[in-house]
Amino acid sequence: MKRQIALVSILMFLLSSVPAHAGVPLDTVRVEVNKVLDVLRDPALKSESAKEIKKERLRSIYKDMFNEAEFSRRTLARNWSLLNPDQQKEFTHLFEQVLEKAYIDKILSYTNEKVVYAKEAPLSENQVEVQTRIVTSSKEISISYRMILKDGTWKVYDVVVENVSLVLNYRTQFNEILAKNSPEKLLEILRKKVKEQ
């Protein structure tokens, strides 16, 4: 009897500790991507002058959807510790700006593309890849969102476009820069990049 109680309580414990995430990451992506599409298709924001409003809204969606700290930390991987806390902060900020400037116009140019939410593939117990496809008139682009569960919410830490991971692509570049230069030099390059864009 005692054993049974023990067994049941262990079972209960196991069940309660299983993260209830079935379908949650995919739904999160769906909700956020739909918000983006709503902004892009909003007839009230059609004019050229409304571009800044659109950008502002996209920025706030990005903040909801992405774990920025995780995103930039992963691009540096083991080199992260080479940066002191101030540098890490600046790096995160600059990296975000590089991304925004590089991709926001591209995103704004989308209008009537269809998004297909294909599936969720687990990567580890708290990481999942949500696979989607953007269907344009001429082609299909596969976009996967790698998400991590932190503090009860799923957030994106990497985007994989046509099999190319953004995090890994930047990591290769940062690795190569840091192999020959100091972290300060890396920040300098980033600052310059942000200014140029």
Partner: protein, 290 residues
Amino acid sequence: MRLYFFHFYPNKILMRVICTKKLFVLVAVFFAFLAAGCAHNVNRPLPLGQQEVASPSQSVLPSSGEEQPLQEEEPVTIADPLEPFNRAMYLFNDKFYFWLLKPVAQGYSTVVPEGARISVENFFFNVEFPIRFVNYLLQADLRDAATELGRFGVNTTIGIAGFFDPASSKVFDLPKQDTDMGLTLASYGIGHGFYIDWPVLGPSSPRDTIGKAGDYFLYLDSYISPWYVSLGIRGYEEVNATSLAIGDYESLKEAALDPYVALRDAYVQHRQKGIRGRKSEPEPVNPQTE
């Protein structure tokens, strides 16, 4: 939009018919394959050559504060002993794109509507069927070889000489797929070797270059004479494809701190996933280094 995914499945009867057909083709191909006697047993890709191997095992990542260490996928890198040459070629290709290919493709796209350009692309893709079919066979991937054969049959007939792609529609459910001899060699365990950025042809490696050379013999346009007509057709194919992809290279370049490294990495990652994606089993994360 939400329902789109569920609409993807054709009704059950059709599905069964297609499955039976697929099975028939599969069996037919299997016997053809046996008869051909090139029974390479490539169930598992061998670890790739050491050049492709990333830096040593398990990155020990610093955990800042309460954050746990990251379970990381190591980036796949490629040796680049020819970097000075490659960087020069990268610059050449960059100019080639912006000064020649892009303006021509833009001019072309103002004259030819998008629908027609997509059809042209479909046509060329269909003509390249032998490359994919033979390589799937060489990879002992009978399932994909059968799909290829089915796609070719459907698109050449119902798709009017390949200008349309009804095979990937819901009715036939034979989605577009791609492979080449570089990936076949990779599936035999041959690594990239190192990075080469060829003028005009772009990112490659000794392995993929040999693959390209092998595939050349499976291109139908390679057999068109005189040679300049064949070359012209390839050039046209390239312009047409570029006209549908304007902006891709630009955004890669715009987002990169070092576009040369970004492109090299995108190439390696893309190829790597081509090998991984086809096999159900993932590559070993840390293949043996020397």
